[in-house]
């Protein structure tokens, strides 16, 4: 019988990084080494610990990384608590890749890109940002606006400082919600910061973060003159199968696991407001 996507493969956790007080990044490789499967930026995978639970997570590493996959996971439920408690060397099960991806080889090619992320919302965008950095010639101007509750809550802070900020080919603007000792950067919510920075409306925007942040960011972008067809986001709903069959992650007739998770705002606008 052919492989069935519902029967998972084994992944070994080879590194665990504590990014923020409640976010850890897990590095996963196949038992024989290398990646368990290939993916495109924005796609997701089902991670599971049998007996504990199974859930969908976006793959935060770039496909250009040929050695491993990474997942940045916030502790918020049964499975994520278990994952946060595990040690390096632990095996988990993994299946995927699921969903569409950001159109990095399609509509985004040659465009000026603006990434806007809030908190753990950086996880799916990090994959795209690193993909773009590795294929820098294919894209125009690249700007990242990233904000979090505090300095400690900025996911992948080390990579942002050491690599992205050091990269002359992209611009990174960071902000935190409240003033904090040791922080001399911008203070304020992401949507307001976006308005302050007033990026050029020629850019294509990729936004991800808490629903409330997305809502206000979109409103802000519209005020600046952006249209819905310029803005992409990525969604998350409860999923069981990952292939559009178990029937729960739909928004209208679109399944987030299969038709998403990446949607353009004009596409989302045609769907009912149930997410």
């Amino acid at each position: 019988m052919n492989n069935d996507t519902l029967i998972p493969k084994i992944g070994v956790v080879t590194d665990i990084r504590q990014d923020t007080p409640d976010v850890k990044t897990f590095r996963v490789v196949a038992p024989e080494g290398g990646k368990v499967f290939e993916h495109m930026p924005g796609q997701c995978a089902m991670l599971s610990m049998p007996g504990v639970g199974e859930a969908m997570f976006s793959i935060t590493s770039s496909p250009t990384n040929k050695e491993f996959m990474e997942f940045s996971i916030k502790k918020c439920g049964c499975l994520t608590e278990w994952l946060h408690a595990m040690e390096v060397g632990q095996q988990i099960t993994i299946r995927g890749p699921y969903g569409n991806a950001f159109p990095v080889e399609g509509d985004l090619k040659g465009k000026d890109l603006l990434f806007i992320a809030g908190g753990i919302g950086l996880a799916p965008l990090r994959s795209v940002i690193n993909y773009v950095r590795d294929n820098r010639a294919n894209y125009g101007d690249v700007q990242v606006i990233y904000g979090s509750r505090s300095k400690d809550d900025l996911v992948d802070y080390k990579e942002i400082i050491d690599e992205w900020m050091a990269d002359p080919n992209i611009r990174v603007d960071l902000t935190i919600d409240n003033p904090q000792e040791g922080w001399d950067g911008h203070v304020g919510f992401v949507p307001n910061y976006v308005k302050e920075l007033a990026p050029s409306t020629s850019k294509t925007v990729l936004v991800c973060g808490p629903p409330i942040m997305i809502k206000f960011t979109l409103a802000g972008l519209k005020e600046l003159g952006f249209t819905e067809t310029q803005v992409y986001t990525t969604m998350e709903l409860r999923m069981k199968c990952g292939v559009g069959k178990c029937g729960r992650c739909n928004i209208g007739n679109k399944y987030v696991c299969k038709d998403g998770p990446v949607f353009r705002f004009d596409q989302l606008g045609e769907l009912p407001d149930e997410y």
Partner: protein, 339 residues
């Protein structure tokens, strides 16, 4: 057409069961029929249809997807799939036969569900034309002709004999396998029976029900309808409609710790349940209104939107008969159509 006298039906069943597993609808108790594995002497029910639909044969209520063994930090995944044995489901009604086409659209589209396909490949569906439709029947609303059911092979009952017609190669193979029991028969009486059934069909209380006002293009119109509050008001949030429905296909995946390993199960789930879309950080369908709306929008709008206008209902009438509070797709359609 080839036929067999009804008095010899038992012989036919015995012959089929000698070669492969045969399931027939039989009476469990007065007024309640269910599919059972045929054993010699078992009689075909006189009920119009079974309480549970025939989807169980291809999409069972629970099934084991995989087993896991955990040893320290290591996990072993055991693929426990086995090639399914050949089987025949006899006496499926036209509505249920159509439901397989609908389930196929879900499970056989990429990526193919190998669990479903395995059973589908090995199962032969032998349908039975209806001659006594009930008041709850509305299969004609979905373009189904109960006097000429789909399925691999179709059977027709003229009161004295059962006639056989093949619709697919598998169906032809089934008829060939029992050919020695069949004889050529005259269908004049059968044509009369069918004509009479069609007369009844035209007189059914739900004969006028139409899907004309539904389909993929009605998404926002109906999603935002103010009828949902009233329609869902009495809904108990149970799964009766879902579980008796031949086309409901939502499922859940659960793990069970046996003490010496983990078994991963797939089981039916219902969008009517409060935890259907519950996540660690919230639930997009918080009240019964949203859950209720999802079920009917799925059948009447979302499914046709994704499947060239085909609806996710076959008009079998099970939910009409079984809903504890008698709320059902017919009432929903009629209410939504009222302007």
């Amino acid at each position: 057409m080839l036929k067999i006298s009804k008095s010899r039906l038992g012989e036919l069943f015995d012959a089929v069961a000698a070669k492969q597993t045969l399931y027939i609808p039989t009476d469990r108790e007065p007024g309640a029929a269910e599919y059972k594995k045929y054993e010699s002497g078992m009689e075909l029910t006189k009920e119009l249809n079974t309480v549970r639909s025939a989807k169980d044969f291809f999409f069972p209520q629970t099934e084991n997807l995989a087993d896991f063994r955990i040893d320290g930090k290591n996990i072993e995944v055991r693929d426990i799939r086995e090639e399914c044995g050949d089987f025949v489901v006899f006496g499926v009604r036209a509505c249920d036969a159509r439901s397989f086409t609908i389930l196929d659209k879900v499970f056989l589209c990429e990526p193919v569900d190998s669990f479903y396909k395995n059973r589908r490949d090995h199962g032969t569906v032998v349908t039975m034309a209806c001659s006594r439709p009930a008041e709850t029947c509305f299969c004609q609303t979905f373009g189904i002709d109960p006097t000429s059911p789909e399925g691999d092979a179709a059977c027709f009952d003229d009161g004295e004999s059962i006639f056989f017609k093949a619709n697919t190669e598998k169906g032809q193979a089934f008829i060939d396998s029992i050919a020695s029991l069949l004889e050529e028969g005259d269908t004049a009486k059968l044509d009369e029976v069918n004509a009479k059934t069609k007369e009844i069909m035209a007189k059914l209380p739900l004969a006028k029900l139409s899907t004309g006002n539904f389909g993929g293009d009605k998404l926002n119109e109906y999603f935002n309808s103010d009828k949902w509050a009233e329609l869902s008001e009495a809904c108990l949030g149970c799964g009766t409609c879902t579980f008796v429905c031949p086309t409901c296909q939502c499922y859940d995946i659960r793990d069970f710790n046996t003490g010496h390993g983990i078994k991963r199960f797939r089981c039916w789930d219902s969008c009517m349940y409060s935890d259907f879309t519950k996540m660690a950080h919230g639930n997009p369908r918080l009240t019964q209104l949203e859950r209720f709306r999802q079920r009917f929008m799925h059948k009447l709008v979302y499914f046709p939107a994704n499947n060239n206008g085909e609806f996710g209902c076959v008009g079998c009438g099970r939910c009409l008969a079984k809903c504890p509070i008698s709320m059902n797709i017919v009432k929903v359609m009629k209410a939504l159509e009222e302007k």
